[in-house]
Structures are given as structure tokens and as C-alpha cells.
Symmetry: C2
Subunit: 325 residues, 2 copies
């Protein structure tokens, strides 16, 4: 029997950790202690550490029928790095905890781990530690990302002001249309937007450094929900749906599935773009900065006194809730 | 129906987060951003951040038949803080991710969260963030702890030298005897050692500051396994079993269950004491320091050239392996 068919039960916890240590060697001067001590240690120069964590549960947050193990590792890293990007923090490291069934193939686990580590390294956050446990149930991958930022420059939620313009990076709707296409068995390049999202790390860090962004969040639950996060508490956002930058290919998927393209873009979620509140006078300067990073920032709305997010037409955009769907 | 019977499905993800935010208000100047932004932010003055994570899976790492939800929260915090203690790091914050069945009672979740937050606060590590997901399977609690340390003073594994003495803090065997008693339905105060361990945080930080500890680890898998962690790679440890400080009550539990008390102390695990390698000339000074912290350090062995841990008698002490038990 080839090593490809070995299970985690065959190699044991220690054998699996040894494989991970062999294949994942955190690089970079920032890592003082990597995998194999009581805890990991990363060098930090900024006066504040930024921390975020996301837990992905099989058949709730991903399905191995659609996503490869490598996809799961990629996404687990990316969603956490996106949260750091939304704070304007520079990534420094990742931790990965896995709950695995004993009959899980070692090669599958390693595909997940290596993909996660690769995405982390790409953004300056090597895999420095983690934990393994057994589970008689769905696979669980829990990732923590650490970054650093000058607290005075950090991008915060709910810090926009009435009259600020609301901007989004990139284009929206691709991840949700990609998911709908996966569910319907429809081929489209948008699968990748759903399975292997790109966190806007360099853009977030660059925006934070300008000091011109009043408020920011990432778009994980859909613009209709996440735009609220840049408005001050008790205020709201009016979205100009005509202005929304919609991902290439969303219209076609929507047409073929007889769905609403705008709904994908405004409420679909998981695009992991940034949503910002910016004073009108600073918009052009930030758009120029974004272009220098190969990114684009589009004005999609305004912060208003009236609470809630208004999309300028009747739309029933219920937000995703883990325990109610 | 009283609120005590409400499930997480009744209140939803947002309702549960709101409850956690109401009940858990991270205190202390160290918390710049707590629960409710894209990521948490904690102030750090030392040049290195220390990170550790542990994932607890129901019916693998704990059983709700023995442990209350509050016990699970306590232990999840303590095991992570113990890893920071073993590095000599000062705790700064905790993150908690939970995968919950929709029919889980809100009061049970809150008992876990509040207990974890309380233990964290006690050691300077408030609960600053986390994530919630749904699971059709066992409860999963994944905790990350962050601390800070001067990298030059950090306590590392595998840094002892041949001839160093091996010391342990506190007393051993209580957690394993407590577990055996829980399994057998035998009443003993040692249940608490198993369910609500005490991480040796202040001791770890004080020891690191002396610069006199060559190497350290915490005892989670049992001394017979964890003593290896303070020996240089390729070397070993001889344990003087007569010298082992055995927890009060272990002998009685062992007698009543017809088990070996020494086995509990030497190989039982989960005591979350510290094991150290120290040059013989520095032992007395460190013991005095420990007494000032209300702790005790006992010499239990020596680092030797021969690889492996020798207990000075024939003992079959198989180490715990998640995928092989």
C-alpha cells in the first residue's frame, strides 16, 4: 500500500506532526520559534498585536464534494488574512488546529496544511504552530492569524461619519455566484472566487498608512450587511446599486441559473473585498493609491443618518446566520 | 419557556455574540480592540509575541458526563495559559472558537464562555475575540492564547545540557488519578485537578526573568514524555522515581482502584506543572524564588547522554496519542 493511502490513524499524531514539520518550514526573520515548542514566537515591532480566528466546519462552511483539501487550506488562511487586511495590519503568522477522523488520508491533510502554509507565506504569515485532535464527526479547521499595526493607524469599524462616501475594493458577487454554480453543477471560472479567495492585505496596509480611511471592514457576509460596519452606530448606509462593481461572469451565471446578479453582488458574501468609509475630499487620493497597488476602489454609497442599509429598491436580503440557516 | 431553556438556534449567531459581548467585557489597558471588530488588538511592549492554541473535542478531550460546561471553559483557558507559562511569557489575551449543535442551550454556552473569560482575566489574558460555527457532531472548542516575552529570556525546549538537573513544579499525578476516579465513579478532591487545572503563569514568568533556567516545558502528556522536552535532542533523562512529588490523594485513589500511584505521577499527564532543566549550581536559588511565589520546585532527575527517559525500573509507559487511543 503506497504512502498515499495512509491514514492519520496509521501514522499517529506524532507521525503527522513530524510530516508537517518536514514540509512546513516557516521562513523569514519574523519567526523566532516555529512548530515544535510549547508555543510559537514571532517578532513584533508595532506596539499592538492584531488577532483574528475563524473556524471552518465540514458541511457547514465547506463541502469536500466541491472543495479540494487544498482549497480548504487556502480559504482558511485567506479569510483570516482578510480580517487582518480590514484592520490595516501586517500579517506575521498563522496557527492551524485540525480535528480529524482517524481514517482521514495523510495526503489529504498534508494538501490542506501545505496550501494554508503557502498562502500564509505569500502574505508574510508563515504557519508557526497549531494543534491536532481526533473527531468522530465532521472535519474542523480552526485558524488564527496574528498581525501587527500601529494602533493610531489601525482601520476600525463603526468609525465613519454621516456624509462619508462608502467605497469597495475590487468587484463583488463572484464568490456567491461561484457557490451557486458549484451547487448547480455549472462550470464557471467563478468557482475560484468562492474556493480560493484573495485577501486584500497589501491594500489594507497601504490604506491604513495614509491615515485617510475613516473606517473599514471586510466583506464576508455581503455588502448589504458589512457596509453597516463602517457607519457609526445608529446611522446607516445608502447603496447606489447601479454603481456596484460586479465581478465578470456573475451576470452570465445569474442568467443561466435564473437568479438576480445584483443579489449576488450586494448580498452574496465571501468576496473578501474591503468596504471603506472615506471623507469625500480624500476619495480621489485613495483611488490613485489603490491603482498603484493594482487595485480599484469604487464609490458605492453614502453614510446617512437613517439606520440600516438601503439599496434603493425593495430587496429582501436576509443576512447569513450560522444557527438559522 | 424561561431563557434558561433557549437554544443557540432560538437566539441565532448574532444573538449569541450579543450575549457574549454583554457578559464579557475585556478589562485592562492592554486591550485596544475587543470583541466586535474584524480582529482584536492587544497592546504589546515586548519585542516578541508568543502564540499557542489547543482544540478540545467533546468525547475525545472532555466528556460532558463528567465535566460541566464551566469546567470545559476553565480547562480550555488553562491548558493554553500553561503553554505560555512554559515559555515564560506574560499572557495578554484569549480567542475562543466554538462549533455548536443548534440545540445547545444558550446558558450552557454562556457558562463555558464566562468561565474561560474569568480564568483568562485572572492571568491577564482577557477574552478578546473568537468565532462561532454550527456543527452536526461533537462540540469543539478551539482556544488561542497570546502572550509576550523578551526572546532573549524566553524558556525554550531542548535547551538543557547533559548534567543539568531536572526539576518539576508542584505535585504530579493528581489530574490522572482524578480522571481515573471520574471514570470509575469514585469521589475525590482530585476531580478538580483533572477538570480545573491551574496554569503556573506567575512562576513561569518569574523563572524566565532570572535567566537561570536552561530549558522548560509544561507537563501535559506526563513527565515520562514531557521530560524529554528539556533534554537536548539525542540525549535523555533519568528520573528518580523516589523523588517524585506525588499529589495528595493519589495514593488513596490508586489503592482503591488497584492502580499504580507512580504511574499516575510519572505518566498520567495533564498536571500542567512545569518541568525544567537547570545547572546544579542554580537549583537552590530557583527553589528559593519559587517559594516566594508559594510554589515548590523538586529535583526529580538528571539529563544524561543516553537517549530516552529512564525511570529506574521496568515500566511500560505508553504515551498518549490522539489517533492511536
Amino acid at each position: 500500500m503506497g504512502s498515499g493511502k495512509r491514514t492519520v490513524s496509521d501514522v499517529g499524531e506524532a507521525g503527522l506532526i513530524a510530516r508537517i514539520q518536514r514540509h512546513v518550514r516557516p521562513r523569514g526573520a519574523g519567526v523566532v520559534v516555529g512548530i515544535g515548542d510549547d508555543a510559537a514566537m514571532v517578532r513584533a515591532v508595532a506596539p499592538a498585536a492584531v488577532l483574528t480566528t475563524d473556524m471552518l466546519v465540514e458541511d457547514v462552511d465547506f463541502r469536500l464534494a466541491w472543495a479540494s483539501w487544498s482549497d480548504v487550506g487556502h480559504k482558511a488562511a485567506a479569510v483570516n488574512l482578510s480580517d487582518l487586511a480590514a484592520m490595516g495590519a501586517t500579517p506575521r503568522g498563522l496557527l492551524l488546529s485540525l480535528a480529524l477522523r482517524p481514517d482521514t488520508h495523510v495526503d489529504d491533510v498534508m494538501a490542506l496544511v501545505r496550501s494554508l502554509a503557502r498562502v500564509g507565506e505569500r502574505y508574510g504569515a508563515p504557519l508557526v504552530g497549531g494543534d491536532l485532535s481526533k473527531i468522530d464527526g465532521p472535519l474542523v479547521a480552526s485558524v488564527t492569524a496574528i498581525g501587527e499595526v500601529d494602533p493610531k493607524r489601525a482601520l476600525r469599524r463603526h468609525a465613519g461619519r454621516v456624509g462619508d462616501l462608502v467605497l469597495v475594493s475590487g468587484a463583488l458577487g463572484g464568490a456567491a455566484a461561484g457557490l451557486a454554480a458549484l451547487q448547480a453543477g455549472l462550470a464557471t471560472p467563478l468557482h475560484r472566487r468562492q474556493l480560493r479567495p484573495t485577501p486584500k492585505v497589501a491594500l489594507g496596509v497601504a490604506l491604513a498608512r495614509t491615515g485617510l480611511v475613516r473606517s473599514a471592514a471586510d466583506i464576508s457576509d455581503g455588502l448589504a450587511r458589512d457596509a453597516m460596519h463602517v457607519a457609526p452606530r445608529g446611522a446607516g448606509v445608502v447603496i447606489d446599486t447601479v454603481a456596484l462593481p460586479v465581478d465578470r461572469g456573475v451576470a452570465e451565471v445569474a442568467r443561466r441559473l435564473q437568479k438576480d446578479a445584483l443579489r449576488f453582488a450586494a448580498a452574496g458574501g465571501e468576496d473578501f473585498e474591503l468596504v471603506l468609509a472615506v471623507a469625500p475630499k480624500d476619495v480621489a487620493r485613495l483611488q490613485t493609491l489603490a491603482r498603484r497597488h493594482g487595485e480599484r476602489l469604487t464609490v458605492v454609497g453614502t453614510i446617512v443618518k437613517q439606520p440600516g442599509v438601503s439599496l434603493g429598491r425593495d430587496t429582501d436580503l436576509e443576512a447569513f446566520d450560522h444557527f438559522r440557516t
